[in-house]
């Protein structure tokens, strides 16, 4: 079958068909990205925390902008080459375009990767600390867990004496993990008491399903779970049947009355059912003891810790003492008091006082030192701005003042400036740092970055890597750039198809291929167009 209007325009639209199609698609894309950009504006205007403006390293974004603009030019050239019937030129330009797409994605991957390995924590008083977590060490050697992996110094450690599982909700991999952790600590998890009850209607009510002392296993939990589900189904059916007959009775005894008038009088007598030995025993939870009590490590996101009792996300209750489980930063990249200052202003307090009374400044010598240093820098900046721009005649205030970021955020570049006489980094180090963040090893001077920065668990309000979970800025950043990245991949695949499989079409009908490349190019320009907005909005504002 011949496809119509691939080269010649249709009379009514004046265009070949695929061009109409791509513009319809681009119109829908405009609305899709428009939705995300408006979400960005909405999130930014409504943010109840200081928006992290100009927080991303500019250089990778700038290079990516150049790469995309360059590829936009080459894709036009590729199309023009086809129109002029120069196959070799088309190959070269299209090859450059696809190389640019690959380069873009590699840079994007580096950027994402750096964020996913970068830790942030918000303390209870809204101080934010950023950096990299360390691993547990003993006598200079890394401590390995039972999997042979290094242990991140961000684990919740509990000296557990008892575990209570939800028979229906327990997460199997976590149960297995608990078993192996107990083995590793030379402890055993055993059933605390006999699991017994009524398993059939009219039967004895002390039928033992599992004996006290049986070791924890998935098979054991499955057995109890099965008994529980059987009992629940049985009891549910009994209650439903009872309710149905009660309703029938109430309806016949009170003709003409509405359902809602009768509802409060219609009930199932559960107690009577139980006394008649009709109900079976449900086992919604099952308790184990840890013998002897042993230390278990949990990832912070999996557990809600308490002094004597903690709970996993799968409703497993852990009885036992919470051990000191500090969060230890191997290196700190930034100390940010902006959120704390904002909260202080909201409460009508002096933000500087709030910072100076913050837990971090009070308890960490380095933080105190850095804060004092930063205060002096801000004072210098204030004086310089006053000298350069003067005072506003109407308000009597200086025309230009340091920003909140300058006042309250001390980041790694400040740490570098603070440690006087430090190796400021040869060109290569400085460029690498623009992509990967501070190069702790490349900068030789000691005490540039605070090491082994310990934060007690009770001071931690929320911790996360720089993922969408950290705040709405990163959520919308990953949403928009991720979606854009998918478009880059999709566009590159289509253009690569024309490059590698287009020769046959070129030989049979070169104009057809030219039109296809034009349409693919239109999509590619659109991808560039989106990035033209993404770059200033996320990197520079």
């Amino acid at each position: 079958m011949e496809i119509p209007y691939i080269v010649t325009p249709r009379k009514d639209t004046g265009l070949f068909n695929s061009k109409i199609a791509i513009w319809l698609f681009l119109a829908s894309e405009v609305m899709l990205f428009g939705g995300f950009f408006s979400a960005y504006v909405f999130l930014r205007l409504g943010a109840d925390y200081p928006w992290p403006e100009r927080t991303l390293p500019v250089l990778p974004g700038l290079i990516n902008t150049f790469v995309l603009i360059g590829s936009s030019v080459t894709v036009v050239f590729a199309w023009a080459s086809l129109k002029m019937r120069k196959w070799r030129h088309f190959q070269i330009y299209m090859g450059i375009t696809i190389t640019c797409a690959l380069l873009f994605m590699v840079l994007k991957a580096v950027e994402y990767n750096v964020k996913f390995h970068h830790q942030a924590v918000r303390l209870t008083d809204y101080t934010v600390v950023e950096g990299h977590l360390g691993y547990e060490k003993e006598n200079g050697e890394y401590v390995l867990d039972h999997h042979g992996r290094k242990i991140e110094e961000n684990m919740i450690q509990i000296e557990a004496s008892g575990l209570t599982f939800s028979t229906v909700r327990h997460h199997k991999p976590w149960v297995e993990e608990l078993i192996t952790q107990a083995e590793h600590r030379k402890s055993e998890i055993k059933l605390a008491a006999d699991v017994k009850g009524r398993t059939e209607e009219g039967g004895r009510d002390d039928v033992v399903i599992a004996k006290a002392g049986e070791p924890l296993s998935l098979a054991l939990l499955a057995k109890i779970r099965e008994a529980h589900l059987d009992a629940r189904a049985h009891n549910g059916a009994l209650r439903t049947a009872g309710l149905r007959s009660e309703w029938k009775k109430a309806k016949t005894e009170n003709p003409g009355k509405r359902g809602w008038e009768l509802a409060s009088a219609v009930n199932v007598d559960v107690k009577a059912l139980d006394e008649a030995k009709k109900l079976l025993t449900e086992f919604s939870t099952v308790s184990f003891k840890v013998d002897p009590p042993a230390r278990f490590d949990f990832k912070p996101r999996d557990v809600r810790e308490g002094a004597t009792q903690s709970r996993l996300r799968d409703d497993t209750v852990i009885d036992g003492k919470l051990l000191p489980s500090p969060m230890v930063f191997h290196y700190v990249d930034a100390i940010d008091f902006r959120h704390l200052a904002m909260k202080a202003v909201e409460k009508g307090q002096d933000p500087i006082d709030a910072v100076e009374n913050s837990w971090l400044v009070q308890n960490h010598a380095f933080a105190r030192e850095a804060w004092e240093w930063n205060k002096a820098q801000v004072a210098k900046l204030e004086a310089a701005l006053l000298k350069d721009y003067g005072v506003d005649q109407e308000t009597g205030k200086p025309k230009r003042e340091p920003t909140a970021k300058e006042r309250y955020r001390i980041d790694w570049k400040d740490f570098v400036a603070k440690s006087d006489g430090v190796d400021r980094g040869k060109g290569a180090i400085a460029v690498k740092e623009e992509f990967m963040g501070p190069d702790y090893k490349g900068r030789e001077a000691k005490e540039t970055f605070p090491e082994h920065f310990s934060l007690p668990r009770e001071q931690v309000r929320f911790a996360s890597k720089f993922t969408p979970a950290w705040n709405t800025y990163y959520a919308i950043y990953f949403a928009i750039t991720g979606l854009h990245g998918l478009h880059v991949i999709g566009g590159a695949l289509v253009l690569a198809y024309y490059l590698f499989f287009g020769r046959k079409m070129y030989d049979s009908n070169p104009e057809w291929l030219a039109n296809r490349v034009e349409v693919g190019g239109l999509f590619w320009h659109f991808v560039d167009l989106v990035w033209i907005f993404v770059f200033p909005i996320f990197y520079l504002m």
Binding site: S38, F535, M541
Partner: protein, 126 residues
């Protein structure tokens, strides 16, 4: 319309020129955002920086759309299709204004004493 090989050969220079302008525009955007001497408005980022940055971005986007995507000499059908997409995006942004101007203050969420949350009454200017 730049469809004949001769016309295309002529427009190659235009494409190069536009590419150059796009590169230059990007450098200007970065410079006004990072070089203190070029900072307009207040010190640091503020509404003027946003307006300037977005104005440059919009100019660049217009150039890409007009020249690379040939919107400067397209058929009416394309304008209608693309325009309708832009129309909806415009109203989507207008909705934000509406949401800011007429917010929902839920006393259950924000507490019965204050109907307006503190951060909404604080002037947003930094």
């Amino acid at each position: 319309m730049a469809d004949t090989p001769e016309a295309i050969r002529k427009s190659i220079r235009t494409y190069l020129l536009i590419g150059g302008i796009l590169f230059a525009g990007t450098i200007i955007t970065v410079m006004v955002a990072t070089v203190p001497a070029l900072d307009i408005g207040h010190h640091g980022f503020d509404v003027w920086d946003a307006i300037l940055g977005l104005a440059i971005a919009a100019t660049k986007a217009t150039l890409v759309a007009a020249v690379f995507m040939h919107l400067n000499h397209e058929k009416k059908t394309v304008y209608w299709i693309f325009g309708s997409g832009l129309f909806f995006v415009f109203w989507l942004f207008a909705l934000i204004g509406l949401a800011k101007k007429d917010p929902i203050h839920d006393p259950f969420f924000f507490g019965s004493k204050s109907t307006t949350p503190a951060h909404m009454t604080t002037p947003t200017r930094r």
